[in-house]
């Protein structure tokens, strides 16, 4: 191809960018410079980043160019990447979008960031999120809301909204998010990109600022399945520093990408087609299921997971309980915000009262309530028992299916402010994604069309450690339909 510029190469997927880096059509330095310029130009409209780290990114790009010249580049060497600001980066401020950590600079890299550093990736910046990853719209950020590139008056979803928005807008081809109840998949759906939540234990959580330790995983945002496979392969694996990481070998996630849909046993559980779901979302998801069926997948609509409707209360007991324990560490003593007051207890209470935002406090109170004397059995223990039932139902479904297909979110991107004063309405937005975290299975959201001009996401849920099957199906569906090729008018450098 002639007349390629760093900007036109930046528009491509990461695996295409890697080809151009290897051929010498572009340098990592030029690619990083165009990514930094684009991200900074888009910030006034998107607010997708909490910090952009130009000096570090350019130094990483120069190191990547040296590796490329020496011929020992890894697949992601020189690729610009956005990192959710919940992931510790050594020497670079990591805020969790909270006033509590506004001035916090980690002294370590989290394991996934260390792995990507080793792979030669270029970290463009730290992306915006709901404070401590608690939210579904990226509006609960102490650094202001992120906007959706498809419609700037709408939310990008959350909590990893910055990571989704910057990939959808072409600032970077890849980014990292975390998913505790849907925080990768729901923003991927609302921004029209690919997002993958790995199996619990597949990716190390060491150095990731903790919210709900039994539920969360780090995972990739990308614009196609191949890119998601590359990034997942680079971050997955056992980590001696995370006792909950799985000692399970990491396969080559790109190996099965071209195997097609033929013979896949697909279940469509009706419990995920919830009351109040938007008709346009239902229509897009039904059309996607028809594409699977027309291309050799065996579709079963009788599969049922009857306890799935209970997943939302289970989640909003377990996640806040774990959060109330995890966030007890913010006492204003060793790090984080400290208020000035006239006694030790007053200082601690005011540090926490002023350092945490409204949604974080709400969850600390919920969790404290669920774990407190007299309520533990009725709430926390009960939720853990129902969690067992939900896990068993998923395991039973995967005894005879390779995949479950569901909507990812019951609605398209909603307007900024629309659900901010109604926490329960906000929580209900995650009805389709939360059950998967309760069970621990891997799942993806992939673009499957539009409703009212806004992207709709199809959720693919797989058996434990079957990320390869998810990626295979996502790759085949993407190639068949081309939905993942659609770009918002805001994409790239040509904005109105």
């Amino acid at each position: 191809m002639a007349n390629e510029t760093p900007e036109s190469i930046l528009d491509l997927t990461a695996h295409e960018q890697a080809t151009h880096l290897r051929s010498g059509a572009v340098t990592a330095r030029a690619l990083a410079e165009s990514a930094l310029a684009r991200v900074q130009a888009q910030e006034a409209s998107l607010n997708a980043y909490i910090s952009v780290n130009e000096a570090e990114a350019l130094a990483q790009a120069d190191a990547a160019d040296a590796r490329l010249r020496a011929g020992n580049a890894a697949p992601l060497t020189g690729i610009p990447i956005g990192v959710k600001d919940l992931l510790s980066t050594k020497g670079v401020a990591t805020t969790a979008a909270s006033n509590m950590l506004r001035n916090f600079t980690p002294i370590i890299d989290c394991t996934v960031v260390a792995k990507l550093r080793e792979a030669g990736a270029v970290f463009v910046g730290k992306t915006n999120l709901d404070e401590f990853a608690m939210g579904s719209s990226t509006e609960h950020s102490a650094f202001g809301a992120t906007h959706n590139p498809w419609a700037l008056d709408r939310v990008p979803g959350g909590s990893s909204g910055g990571s989704a928005a910057t990939v959808a807008a072409g600032g970077v081809p890849l980014s990292l998010g975390t998913d505790t109840g849907g925080s990768i998949r729901q923003p991927a759906a609302l921004c029209g990109v690919v997002g993958l939540k790995p199996t619990y234990g597949r990716v190390s959580r060491f150095g990731v600022i903790a919210f709900a330790s039994s539920l969360e995983q780090v995972g990739p945002f990308a614009r196609d399945a191949e890119d998601a496979a590359l990034l997942l392969g680079a971050i997955a694996g056992h980590d001696p520093n995370d006792a909950t990481s799985a000692p399970v070998p990491v396969p080559d996630y790109t190996a099965d990408l071209s195997k097609g849909l033929d013979g896949l046993r697909v279940g469509v559980p009706h419990e995920f087609f919830v009351e109040g779901m938007e008709p346009g979302v239902r229509e897009a998801v039904e059309q996607a299921i028809a594409v699977f069926e027309a291309n050799g997948a065996i579709v079963d609509r009788d599969v049922t997971l009857p306890s799935v409707p209970a997943a939302l209360p289970v989640y909003y007991i377990i996640a806040p309980s774990e959060a109330s324990a995890n966030l007890a560490r913010y006492d204003g003593v060793k790090y984080g915000f400290r208020a000035e007051a006239d006694s030790m207890w007053a200082e601690m209470e005011q540090s926490r009262g002023r350092g945490f935002g409204a949604e974080v406090k709400r969850r600390i109170f919920l969790g404290t309530y669920a774990l407190s004397a007299g309520y533990y059995d009725a709430y926390y223990l009960k939720a853990q028992k129902v969690r067992t039932l939900i896990r068993r139902e998923f395991a039973a479904a995967f005894a005879s299916h390779d995949l479950l297909l569901t909507p990812c979110s019951p609605n398209v991107a909603f307007r900024l402010g629309e659900k901010l004063d109604d926490p329960l309405a906000m929580y209900l937005n995650d009805l389709c994604t939360i059950p998967v975290n309760i069970a621990g299975n891997p799942a993806m959201s992939i673009p499957c069309g539009f409703s009212e001009g806004l992207p709709v996401g199809l959720q693919l849920i797989g058996d434990m450690f079957s990320e390869s099957t998810l990626l295979r199906a996502a790759s085949a569906y993407g190639a068949l339909t081309g939905w993942q090729e659609r770009r918002p008018a805001f994409f790239g450098d040509a904005r109105g």
Binding site: I107, V314, Y316, S324, G336, Q350, F365, V386
Partner: protein, 95 residues
Amino acid sequence: MALSEAEVRHLARLARVSVSDEEVARLQAQLSTILEHFELLNAIDTEGVPPTAQSFDLANVEREDASRPSPSREEMLSNAPKTDGPYVRVRAVLE
């Protein structure tokens, strides 16, 4: 189940989070609505069902009890709001 104002203030004390009167009123209403939604769970029979703490069944993960390098004192203190030489400075715990 509706929470009382006194219960919200009790939770604030357990969690060591200061709250304004306005916040107490808002939390009382919001938490009550959310707790009402939790009542869905009461209808589910969990007789004889063991609890799940996490979804990948690993148990007793141990490492060798060996010494290894730790971060320096300077690094450990680098994020502390108040320090005094090699110490973190806090208000008197016992008056």
